[in-house]
Symmetry: C2
Subunit: 438 residues, 2 copies
């Protein structure tokens, strides 16, 4: 069996093959949904007692009370002091860059604004931070300190006063890099809880865990189902699907570089998807040869192999333009334009979580430290959603101050429309402000 | 029985009374959820045929095919030509003002941006419109032409190329004002379908109804449940709860004006909530007297009375500051500061969908034509969400172009962090770009 399938857009069966390749269902298992609904209702009803029971059952952590599940600032700082100096420097350098980028984002699109129209009415929007947010951090093998930075720093830049982190610690094992990242990112409180019970504690509040206004961060199917369930009572970020990379190559990037970029997505998870599009068949051959040569050197070879066999593809396109069109139909989470003139193709690309331009811009640099957020829309949701950002930790309030003169102009319009809708109190509220009423 | 309850923050039982007053559950009926899931699955499987069957059953509309359910541009223009000239002028004036405001919003927070850092790396965000959106417009008594403007115009300003509207027309009755508003707002296609079947058609696409990227607009419990269900496959706006107004008064506004503003919310629906907060008990007496005098003159008296009896309140506060704190705990959809110095209190108000400042700024002026959107977060969700806006019809893609020099700096950081997370392909993708590698 070959490592990765080869497709060609010129083949008669391309559309069908491509649709099969792309298939992934966001539907949640209804058994999981039922179980999650029970856990949520139980935590809503019994609070801390329920959280303690589920934590004992699922994470094998028996403690006397919730206080034993809070990880204090002293322990976070101790974790930061204990990790290797090179790791601490890397975490701090990444945090600085992520913070700098998100501060630019705040300036570019996160500030209040207002203006006065010709009648002296003031109109605008006031932008304010959320009061308190919850950050879900997975435990076990998928515990990523970089995700702590990527979720907490935008909240901090937005001005959120209280960032609560939850992270399951099965059997009591705590990940020192995750705790160090929480210290670097300025997380305010950390609880060693996870699963649907942690989402419930954040959404409804318990005697110990304060209720938050929004929950962000990735998790397993139970966490995703719980977030979807509490959506509306609190805000949530997107429900994440498997991670994906799409590379559009013009054949000028060293094949080993592109091969390793495809691997770096595939190593996440066997459902992860790595796709390369290129109009140059010889280049596809070269990348495939690189992949076959480099793969055995990877510790996560088995996951990479399963991911590539199941969902990977090297696709020969008729042109770079066609590659851009296919990319738009996918709306990939990560999109590399590994080309000599990336700025030539970028305007053709309408949908993507993040666009990595040029041979030096490996996705991994963006994942860790370029500055932009690595929490990105997956599974085609880049058609309608955006990277996690400062704007996810802010909300807007419209501002309206109508002048006496303005009320005369607006009152007539509002009155006519309100009568048309059969809402007479609306009409009369407008009419009462007219100075020429009898 | 009095028309509206009076509360005082100084009373011993205030907190309990206030909690009872505020109680409203966003939980969906599970019988409705099950029925909706069936309809969605059926439309996903059978497409147009299923939509036709449900439309025949629920809207008593039997037609030969989907073509008969599309309302063409000719009919929209005919509706616009047929309504009263005053209504047409009011619709067009409102649309102009709403468009002007949302164009400011686009300039303030909806444009692409980028910068270069000290190593010559380009970082930024590209902001692009959604390709195609669906606008749900309720039929029957709650069919509001103003909502057509408020949903379609931000999409149009964002640059959405195709705006698809669905509106149920039970028994084939079409609302000419709604169709005229669609013409004014520049809606591209209109289908006379509604309910969960319309949401399914938009979310999954059928042979006739194109699949959209996001669905916005209010609807009944079936529509709300359907939107929540398809969330993730498409984007949705917020799930709307009952409408609410909170007025903070300092006693300087004519009591009749405030009374009518409270009515204008209560007339929507008997679950709507109208609350007045004021530190001046005599002023509360005056407003109550106005309410009792003015109510019998309203055509929707019965709805107003039910809403006020069930969920309304006039609350005596110790101070304006306390009124602002209570308002923050409610996070109201509509917040009027009916005071001589609204700008003095505005900075104390952290959570609200829209803030109406000063005696002339009745909520009804904002509902129709001041310019800001009237689709606002309800049921306390202003804690974490925002008015509908241009930003709801755009999405962002991060832009990253790392320079050769930048790759040397970033590569070391990324490599260290990736090794720490056990993701060696990530590390090696970064290391391959280092020019000093052996």
């Amino acid at each position: 069996m070959t490592l990765v399938r080869r497709l060609s857009t010129a083949a008669a069966d391309f559309d069908a093959e491509f649709a099969r390749l792309r298939h992934w269902s966001a539907e949640t298992d209804s058994a999981i949904e039922g179980r999650v609904a029970e856990i949520l209702a139980d935590v809503q009803r019994r609070g801390d007692a329920a959280v303690l029971e589920y934590t004992a059952r699922f994470d094998r952590m028996r403690v006397d009370g919730m206080a034993a599940l809070e990880i204090g600032q002293t322990e976070l700082q101790a974790a930061l002091a204990a990790i290797l100096p090179a790791q601490r420097e890397a975490l701090e350098a990444a945090a600085r860059r992520v913070r700098a980028y998100h501060e630019r984002q705040l300036q570019a699109c996160g500030l209040s604004w207002s203006y006065r129209d010709e009648d002296g009415n003031l109109l605008g929007q006031k932008v304010t931070p959320l009061d308190r947010v919850g950050l879900y951090v997975p435990g076990g093998t998928a515990a990523y300190p970089s995700s702590v930075l990527m979720n907490a720093i935008p909240a901090q830049v937005a001005g959120v006063k209280e960032i609560i982190m939850v992270v399951p610690t099965p059997d009591g094992v705590r990940n020192p890099l995750v705790l160090a990242a929480a210290a670097v990112a300025g997380v305010h409180r950390v609880f060693a809880i996870g699963g649907a019970q942690a989402v419930a504690a954040l959404a409804y509040g318990t005697a110990t865990v304060p209720r938050v206004d929004k929950i962000t961060g990735p998790g397993n199917a139970y966490v995703a189902s719980a977030k979807k369930h509490v959506f509306g009572q609190v805000g949530i970020d997107m429900i994440a699907g498997p991670s994906e990379i799409l590379v559009i190559a013009d054949g000028t990037t060293p094949p080993d570089w592109v091969a390793m970029d495809l691997f770096s997505q595939a190593e996440h998870d066997q459902l992860a998807q790595s796709i390369l599009l290129c109009p140059d068949a010889a280049y596809l051959d070269a990348v495939q040869a690189s992949m076959e040569r480099l793969l055995p050197s990877l510790p996560r070879e088995a996951i990479v192999r399963a991911s590539l066999e199941g969902r990977g593809a090297l696709i020969h396109t008729r042109s770079m333009e066609e590659a851009c069109e296919i990319s738009n139909s996918i709306a990939p989470e990560h999109l590399e334009i590994s080309a000599a003139e990336p700025q030539r193709w970028e305007p053709l690309l309408r949908h993507a979580g993040a666009i990595f331009m040029g041979a030096f811009t490996s996705e991994s640099l963006g994942d860790y430290c370029a500055g932009p957020n690595h929490v990105l829309p997956t599974a085609g949701t880049a058609r309608f959603s955006s990277p996690l950002g400062v704007y996810d930790f802010q909300k807007r309030s419209s501002l309206i101050a109508v002048s006496a003169a303005g009320a005369q102009v607006l009152g007539g319009i509002a009155s006519t429309l309100a009568h048309g809708e059969g809402l007479q109190a609306h009409a009369r509220a407008a009419e009462l402000r007219l100075s020429d009423r009898a």
